[in-house]
Amino acid sequence: MQFETRLWSFTQGVRGRIAISVLIGMIAAALGVIRLALLGWLIGLIFLGQSVDELVMPIIFAALVMLIRGIFEHWRTMTAHETSAIVQKQLRRRLFDKIVSLGPGYTGRQRSGELVLTLVDGIEQLETYFGEYLPQLFISALTPLMIFAFVAFLDFPVALILLVAAFVALAAPSAWHKFDTKRSLERQQAYAAFASDFLDGIQGLATLKSFGQSGSRTELLKKRSFELFRSTMWVLATNSLSRGITDTSIAVGAAAGLGYGAYRTMAGEMELTTLLIILMMGVEIFRPLRDLRTVLHQGMVGLSAAQGVYKILDAQPVVLEEHSGNSTTRLEPSIDFDSVSFSYPEHSHIVHKCLNFNISKGERVGIVGSSGCGKSSIVKLLLRFHDPGQGSISIGGKDLRNITLDQLRREISVVHQDTFLFHGTIEENIRMGNPEASETEITDAARNANIHEFVTTLPDRYKTIIGEKGIKLSGGQRQRIAIARAVLKRYANFNFR
């Protein structure tokens, strides 16, 4: 059966809850069998010719057991959902923080559609894995023993038959576990490929339309969508095959148990009432195994989603955080590039070859050069989105590698050439420079960037929503908001301490 030690490590903090789920689930399963056994016993009593008056108490008892079973079942499922919710919250935040800590050096080389699919959809799939699949797996593993214990109490040989059937039903699907995992992984990749190409397609739709190329993108998406369909069917094929085996062994097991029981009854080795109980229990006795079968699919999708999660969690940050740096002492604002050589990961092209320059405190230095000569890479190195291959960069005489990332980025304000504005209001976008800023500081910053006048003409002024990537503004307006943001950052530390 699918059990992964790595996924198990994510359950920290909810293991107690999972144990409770298993316990409640076991009781619910036992009650489920008992309520049907009671029906068989009742019919047995009727066979023996008991009067209706004598049956009143057993009937009320059976009705009560059914009700309690319902309550337990409800309890079990809700516990499962609550556990899932906790895991979902924890895991999603953990993954989010990991992506942020990996930074632009990592995400620039990934496809955002895929990352988001893992972050939103993938985590949701894992949610069912932890909430429902995992407890059910434990319950199922204990079921054969429970069945045996219960039926052996009625009749030992029949119990043996049922035990064998239960083991086959439980063990058969794991025969193609490996195959399943492979197929699940393929499906996850197909899904991610579709999502990424879809997102890329709509974000660049204006470009595609200008060139009349949206048709070819549609063709590509058609292909991706079909691949997704095909890989889904492959997952289903192996999945429903193992379901088929489980189902068949359950049905055949129940039938064989009954058939053998019938011969034993005929030979007088077993009571007819016992046979009635076995009859009424029927396949219900295997219920936990059937339940496992229905969540098996989710378990599998969860496993394939887990591949996406691992991929992010295992990613090595391009730069390593150094904790030894003392973040309280201020650095002297001088910059020194000492024999810096740099090329982007997986790229052979050398961006910087033995780059040397220094900027002393308070100095204003301009850097010019034809585009692509490595100007912007200097910024990326200074912010430590990447580390140089050779040589060292230092601020205030201290190597960047010995400064915490937090402190480093607190020292520097940047206005980029491609500013990124977030979906939200103008105020929220400027406020990124300093979340604590007062309203006056924000308008001051906006005035400095010559955007205030414009903002006042808007219906909702600073509360105006500017759309994704500031799509509702012109290029110049976007740039000025970015400048306001940087201007505001100037005040940031002034206010903090």
Partner: protein, 717 residues
């Protein structure tokens, strides 16, 4: 001392990375002053290709091939006749033109107080963002989804048949078992029954497998179709519609929301029929044995069957709201991942994460009550099923005591009664689950039913490619907004001529270009190309006649080659290399590890702004359309590349009608005609020389730009 201490706590290092390249002249001047204030006493690194940005630096470093090759003051570097002077010569010459317009710094329109127009649809425009899960009711939902299924009638019938067989086999196991007990009780032989039992038992698993396969095969094929339809629809609505939407949400619709419709296709349609057929058959059979038995069972069966229809409002609302919440989660995640550089630089990771967590919590807070309802329903069904069986046993007990029923039949009847619940409770279970599907389908259809504003014209193909353009009384405002972007615009461009559009940012220049591409339609007046109204063209035909180099270049996460070939997928290798050469892209290609095959990364992340712009220009060269629109096409280029590109563009412009939108003098000076736009109106028109002789807006814009270059201040210092 105290003041100094406070000051030192400021962000001490400032980096300006081409911060002003997208800003127009008028704003550049003002912002440069603000930046000058900001730079005071602060260690500053300015990366720029524009003279105005770097001229006041204490020291200028000139880079070439990854190392510093020259260093010094502006004037010293200019004298050197090296790379710097090559890069800056043109701009210095331009700045010196200032003599021409000297002495007009104060202006009447262009000052800090100029009220800009809102560039795009902001006023009175509902900012919807996330697509709402509203509208569609159950009846409409079923009609809509059935419309999709109808072409698959055969498969649907197959699913239904296997569904019936599967349930029959399942019930058969119970029936044969009960018959064996009956035979035992009566002391007769049960070999036949046992054979039947073993046969049916082995069949039940296989039938389930086939049913599930057939149903899913149909369902997932339909989903694949729906996903494509989402994109097709967006294709028709873009780009106007995308202004109001969030791409992460749209991606969510094409992936997760569509996925949820699977419930309906695979687990609802056929099972509904099965769940009506089987209980009916059971009740009929029961009636033939004993009317009372059937009567005892019926209320429970009805209660289970109708339960999914009751108390719907709350679940449906929860399901729909949850879909919106999920959409918002995706939208936020996309925004974060694509803007990660900004988040990291401004140390907003924690805050962004907090918002993300709140969105997750919101989603969960909608899910838990939903699951509670769902689980309650399931448990209730379980209890009712048990009680239904019990009711049959009780009635049986009464009937056997008064002798009207053979007790031996009791196990059979009980098992039959309980199995009647099987398909019904399956469907009841799905019924609740369908609240998700409803929410998801509502969102898919909200998109599907969005009216397409810009539609194909009759398509009067004109073979004449000479492309004269005329605007007659054109007024335009963005939908749902009162403020007009363009007002009563009248002008004409003769075929083969070049027109330059200038004006303060927000004057409507880009909107004008987008009207020509028919991304929007004007409210009043008409625009025609070659004497034919734009609306009469087929959209593909119209757009194939125009090459637009837009302000922002979008690059797909493909190879450089594929990104250029977007303009003409069937271009020959020769055409491609020609376009690369003309757009000054050869160097870039050479510096790439895999040349043209290099993957450019998400949104072209591995290229600089200037490199991306050159890809856009290469596309325009490759497209080779008779009508060319350059919207700030060279603003990110350094002087040397710009020079190369301009030479090539001049070549391209011959015999082509061209509209240039720019705020840089060098780009517009040579136009046949210049139109000055201000607040959506044409305030001046003429050639560069003519306009300079007037004392209008153009002269002021030029004056601003030249003084913005800082050369004058520099010289005075």
């Amino acid at each position: 001392m105290l003041l100094q201490g406070l000051f030192l706590r400021d962000t001490p290092i400032l980096i300006l990375d081409e911060a002003l390249s997208a800003v127009d002249a008028e704003n550049e001047y003002v912002i440069q002053q603000a930046l000058d204030r900001l730079m005071k006493n602060r260690t500053t690194l300015v990366l720029a290709h524009r003279l105005s940005s770097i001229i006041k630096c204490d020291r200028i470093l000139v880079m070439d091939q990854g190392r510093v090759v020259e260093s010094g003051h502006h004037e010293a570097l200019m004298k050197k006749d090296g790379i710097y002077s090559a890069l800056m010569n043109e701009q210095v010459r331009e700045a010196e033109l200032k003599e021409l317009v000297n002495g007009e710094e104060e202006s009447m329109f262009v000052n800090n107080g100029t009220v800009e127009q809102i560039d795009e649809s902001l006023r009175d425009m509902p900012t919807e963002g996330i697509i709402k899960a509203e509208g569609l009711n159950w009846k409409q939902l079923i009609v809509e989804l059935m419309r999709h299924i109808m072409p698959w009638k055969g498969r649907l019938l197959l699913t239904f048949s296997f569904g019936v067989l599967r349930v029959l086999a399942f019930i058969g196991v119970g029936i044969f078992s009960a018959l064996i007990v009956l035979a035992l009780k009566n002391g007769t032989d049960f070999t036949i029954q046992l054979t039947g039992l073993m046969l049916v038992a082995s069949l039940s698993g296989i039938l389930h497998w086939i049913e599930s396969w057939v149903a899913h095969d149909m369902a997932f094929r339909l989903l694949a179709e729906m996903r494509i339809n989402v994109f097709r629809k967006l294709d028709k609505l873009a780009p106007a519609y995308l202004v109001r939407r969030r791409t992460g949400d749209l991606m969510g619709i094409a992936t997760q929301d569509v996925e949820l419709v699977e419930y309906f296709f695979a687990h609802t349609v056929a099972p509904v029929f099965v769940s009506i057929l089987i209980p009916l058959a059971v009740i009929t059979f029961m009636t033939t044995v004993s009317f009372w038995m059937a009567l005892a069972l019926l209320p429970f069966l009805l209660a289970v069957g109708f339960s999914p229809l009751l108390m719907r409002t709350k679940v449906d609302l929860l399901g729909s709201k949850a879909r919106e919440a999920a959409g918002e989660l995706s939208a936020h995640a996309i925004d974060t991942i694509q803007g990660i550089a900004e988040i990291v630089a401004f140390q907003q990771g924690f805050n962004r994460g907090k918002v993300f967590e709140e969105l997750t919590n919101h989603h969960i807070s909608l899910r838990l009550p939903f699951f509670r309802e769902l689980t309650f329903q399931t448990s209730l069904l379980e209890v009712l099923t048990g009680w239904g069986g019990l009711a049959v046993v009780c009635t049986g007990a009464l009937l056997t005591t008064n002798g009207s029923l053979d007790a031996g039949l009791l196990p059979l009847l009980t098992i039959l009664a309980m199995s009647a619940f099987l398909p019904v409770s399956e469907i009841a279970q799905i019924g609740r689950q369908l609240a998700d599907t409803l929410g998801a389908t509502r969102r898919v259809y909200a998109l599907e039913n969005e009216p397409v504003v810009i539609a194909d014209g009759a398509g009067e193909a004109s073979s004449d490619l000479s492309s004269g353009v005329s605007f007659q009384n054109v007024s335009f405002s963005y939908p749902g907004r009162s403020l007009s972007v363009l007002q009563n615009l009248n002008f004409e461009i003769h075929a083969g001529k070049t027109l330059a559009l200038v004006g303060p940012s927000g004057a409507g220049k880009t909107s004008l270009a987008q009207l020509l591409m028919r991304f929007w339609d004007p409210d009043k007046g008409s625009i025609s190309l070659n004497g034919i109204e734009l609306r009469d063209y087929k959209l593909d035909d119209l757009r194939s006649r125009i090459a637009l180099v837009a302000q922002d270049t979008y690059l797909f996460n493909n190879s450089l080659r594929e990104n250029i070939l977007v303009a003409k997928p069937d271009a020959t290798e020769l055409e491609l290399s020609e376009a690369v050469k003309l757009s000054a892209l050869s160097e870039v290609v050479e510096s790439m590890p895999d040349g043209l095959e290099t993957i450019v990364g998400e949104r072209g992340a591995s290229l600089s702004g200037g490199q991306r712009q050159r890809v856009a220009i290469a596309r325009a060269f490759l497209k080779d359309a008779p009508f060319l629109i350059l919207d700030e096409a060279t603003s990110h280029l350094d002087a040397l590349s710009e020079h190369t590109v301009h030479k090539a563009l001049n070549l391209l412009k011959t015999n082509r009608t061209t509209i240039i939108i720019a705020h840089r003098l060098s780009t517009i000076r040579d136009a046949d005609r210049i139109i000055v736009l201000h607040e959506g109106r044409m305030v001046e028109t003429g050639t560069h020389k003519e306009l300079l002789q007037k004392t209008g807006l153009y002269r002021q814009l030029v004056s601003k730009q030249l003084s913005g270059s800082g050369l004058k201040d520099f010289k005075e210092n």
